[in-house]
Structure formats: structure tokens, C-alpha cells
Amino acid sequence: MTANDFGFLAPLLAIGIAPVVIMLAVAVRRSYVLSCGLALGGIVAAFLALFAVPQGMPHRVTSLLIFDNYALLYMGLIFASTFAVTLLASEYLAARKGDLEEFYVLLLLACLGSSLLVVSNHFGAFFIGIEILSISLYALIGYTRNGLSIEAGVKYLVLAAASSGIFLFGIALLYGETGTMEFPLLAARTAAQGTNGLILTAGLALVVAGIGFKLAVAPFHMWTADVYEGAPAPVTAFVATVSKGAVFALLLRFFAIVDINAHHSLFAAVAVIAVLSMFAGNLLALLQNNVKRILAYSSIAHLGYLLVAFLASGAMRVTAVSFYLVAYFITTLGAFGVVTVLSGKERDADDIEDYRGLFTRRPWTALIFSAMLLSLAGIPLTAGFIGKFYVIAAGAGSALWLLVVMLVLNSAIGLYYYLRLMVVMYVSPGEEKVAVTLPLSVTGYLVLAVLVILLVWLGIYPAPVIELIRSMTAGI
């Protein structure tokens, strides 16, 4: 460990120190505003530290971690998203009773776990990162301690732990076959061994299955809707974006090193997962009446789309996945942001009836939500459009025509429920519903406004972001 190493570690350190500081502060005096502010400060510091990393990338810190542009990009994405979640949560939580300060401790820890995932170069680091993330999430999901929240927390805990067992077993198999858990070394030895080792393939499959749970792809998806529904809306946003994005970033890095195209059977298995996810997600969402569940199912389908790009080869693959993730982060944060700002003290605004006539009551909120839904549906002028275009382009570029056609068919199915949700907001409310009348959340709307601007900007002029992503992911 050198001083130089610490320079690279600075973002992680900042995000790791912040929860400690908050805990100490809470020990001195409970102040919601203070802990919230400290959390924001910590994230900002970590984000700024990204720009201060020393020269000489890619740089490895021990065999566990690697710092390269790719990692910086994803850390930036994670920090920005966590920042948005923190802002969304600040007013959402303020309306609730109980000890709220620890929320930020957990949130920052989850953020730390995610960040660790994107810099990990070793299954050890991967394991530590994913467990920090998971264990924080158990508590976050059950944080509001009402019935649904607890139920969701327990479900997530049981299933996440079981899936941890699965990928751990897979890692053990890989390790047993190759004698290393370091990605590049593992890839080299795998290639030397040939790609048809039984235990090796089984190990990889188990790892993918365990990760599949985190990504909520079919058939590991069944927890998603329940957890999304039960968790507090800002936490749902975090689960849907940061936790999935970080895991996907890791998956992408791992399989960029271990060439998935060389493992034909694994490739086929992942393709099956992709198709299953698309269909399961879209069909489940079709007539669903709970908005959070709709978004949950929709996220299953979106991960299926993302896997199409993931399975592509060539230069477009990483750019397509990364751009799609950026668009998906913005859109999903926006969608759950709307749910958050509309949620009352008693329960979240997750019934489709809560949205009836929203356009008359709160035109701007309705428009923002429409923009998010359109982006999810991949309609022009939104980031989602460019994202979907990119994914289809990646698929077409690698001649994965079957997957592309499946994607296209599923987009059409998906359209149905996005439109269904959207049109509800514009029909005239039968009688004025006063179920959800919150004071306007200033920070919430601030976040939403920024997200919408980003959404449209990416939809109209994505060139700079595409260039940024390209240059940042060039090393992968």
C-alpha cells in the first residue's frame, strides 16, 4: 500500500468514513438534518474525489481492487444516484416517526458495497462488496417497520442469503478448478484449460445464477415485486438502480475478462434468462394495478433487454450496456421519485387509483411521470429511446436476431401497461380524490426536475454522454 493507492481509494474511503461520522454524531446528539447533511456531504466528497484520482490508470490496489475509467464511471453513477436517493428520502422520511438518522448510515454503507463491486477484481472483493450491500439493504427495506416493510425485508433476507450461498458455492467450484479467485488469472487459466470443464462451467453457471438473483432476472425474479412494494419508495429506487447497476457492472467486467462467447452453453443459458425475463416481466406487469409492482416487473423486463446487449460482442457491447444503464438509472429514479413525492404518511402512493386524474391535480408531476414512463417504453425525446436503440443496435451488430426480435415483441407488450398507467393520469377524476395531498416536496421536485432535464437532454442530444461513456469504457 502506497500513498498513491490511497489516492485511488479516496472515493471509497470518503463514502466509508461518512457513516462512521454520522454514527458518532448520532451518539452525541440525534439530529435528522445533521445526519442527512453529513450523508450528502460524504457523497459529494466521494464524488469529488473521483476527479482527484492520481494518474496511472488502470491501477491495481492489491490483487483485490482495480481502479480504471470504467470503475470511475460507475462509481460516479452510483454516487450520483445515491445522492438523488438521499434527497428523495430526506423529506419522505421526515414525515415519518421513529429514529431516522441511521437510515443514512445504512444507505451509505449500501453505497459503499456497491462501489466496492465496481472496483473489484477478485471474488473476495466481490463477495465483501455484495454482502455489505445486501445486509444494509435488509435493514433499509424493513426500515419503516410497518407490516409490508418487514415482510419485504424478511423475504429479501432469506432469498438473498440463499442466493449468496449459491454464488459462493459457484466461486468455490471455480476456485477449486483454477486455484485462483483473481479475475484475469482465472480467465487465463480457464482459457488454458479449455472451456468445456464440467465443474468450471457449473461454477460459472452458479455464479451467474446467484448474480441473477440480485439482478432480478427470471426465473430468480419472484422476490422483486414484493420487495419493491414493501420497501419505502426511496429504498425501492435504490434497490432498482444502484444495487442492480453495480452488480451488472461487475458482471460486465467479469465476462469481459472471461469471454462469455467462448462458453457456448453458458451463453445459451444467459440467452434463455434474457428471453424469460422479458416475457415474465412484461406479462406480469400487464394488468397489474400496483404502481410499484408494475415498475418492479418492468425492471425485470428491462434487465432482460440489457442482457441482450450484454450477450453482444464487439465494441458496442460495453457502451450499449453502460448507456442503457445510465438511461435506466435516470428513468427509474425519476419514476420512483414521483412515487416518493406523492406518497403520504400512512402508505406509499402505489395504487393505480392514486394516479387517476393526476394531470388535473398536479400537471407537472403527471408530466414528469409520463416522461419517465415514455422513457421506459423507449419513445423518442427520452433517454430510454436512445438506450433501447443502442441495445437493439448491439444485438443487431452481433446478429443476435432471435433475441432482437424477442426484444421487439416484448417492447410492444410492455407498451400496453406503460400506456395504461399513463392514460389513467390524464382521464378526468370521477370525484376529486383527496387521498394523497402532501405539501409539495421541494427537494423531491428539485431532483425530479434535474432528472427530467437529463432525460430529455439524453434523448435529444446524447452525443456528449456517448462520447464520455466510450472513452471511459475503452479499457474494457
Binding site: 435488509y138 432469506v158 442469503a161 458455492f169 415485486a225
Partner: protein, 103 residues
């Protein structure tokens, strides 16, 4: 050097344990037993690590096992806290009762 247990034998044992744990998660209704079964799964994975480590004569497998232990402890502590809340809500430890969200 102590004669080693063959790698495959160790793996078979670990795999059997793992399967037992997984089946336990699926068939037990009591949430405590489900948590126990998960412990079995995690430990089976740990065993697989140890066996693998011994195959290559490296400490890495054992290090991973220690990680797993730590993680399992953390998980159980959070898990038990949630279980207590659950018990408050339902007056029962039946995992199937916690199914208000569905569809």
C-alpha cells in the same frame, strides 16, 4: 504431509450439505429453521472453499470461510431482528403467513 481428502469427495460432501440446506429453506415453514437452513448452505459453501484451498495448498479458501462466517453472523443478527418484528406482527413464526403481498 497429512494425506488429503480427495477434492471430489470434499465437493460431494459440500454439495450434499448445500442441497440439504436448500431443501430445508424450501420445506420448513418456521422462519427460524429457514434461517438455520441458510446457515447450512453457507457453511456448505465454506466447506467447498476449504476443500478447494487445500487442493491448491493456499490459504485463500480458509480466508473466504472466515469471511463467510462473519457475513453469516451479520446476516443472522439482522435476520433475527426482522424475525422479532415479524413475530410481533403475526404472533407466529410461520413464514407462509408473511404473504400479504402477492400477484
Amino acid at each position: 504431509m497429512i494425506s488429503q481428502v480427495p477434492f471430489e469427495h470434499g465437493l460431494i460432501l459440500a454439495g450434499a450439505l448445500f442441497a440439504l440446506g436448500l431443501i430445508g429453506v424450501m420445506v420448513r415453514r418456521n422462519i427460524i429453521f429457514i434461517l438455520l437452513s441458510i446457515e447450512v448452505m453457507l457453511n456448505a459453501s465454506g466447506l467447498a472453499f476449504v476443500v478447494s484451498g487445500s487442493r491448491w495448498g493456499q490459504p485463500d479458501g480458509q480466508i473466504m470461510f472466515i469471511f463467510i462466517l462473519a457475513m453469516a453472523a451479520a446476516e443472522v443478527s439482522v435476520g433475527l431482528a426482522l424475525v422479532i418484528r415479524l413475530y410481533h406482527l403475526y404472533q407466529s413464526l410461520d413464514a407462509d403467513r408473511a404473504s400479504r403481498m402477492r400477484g
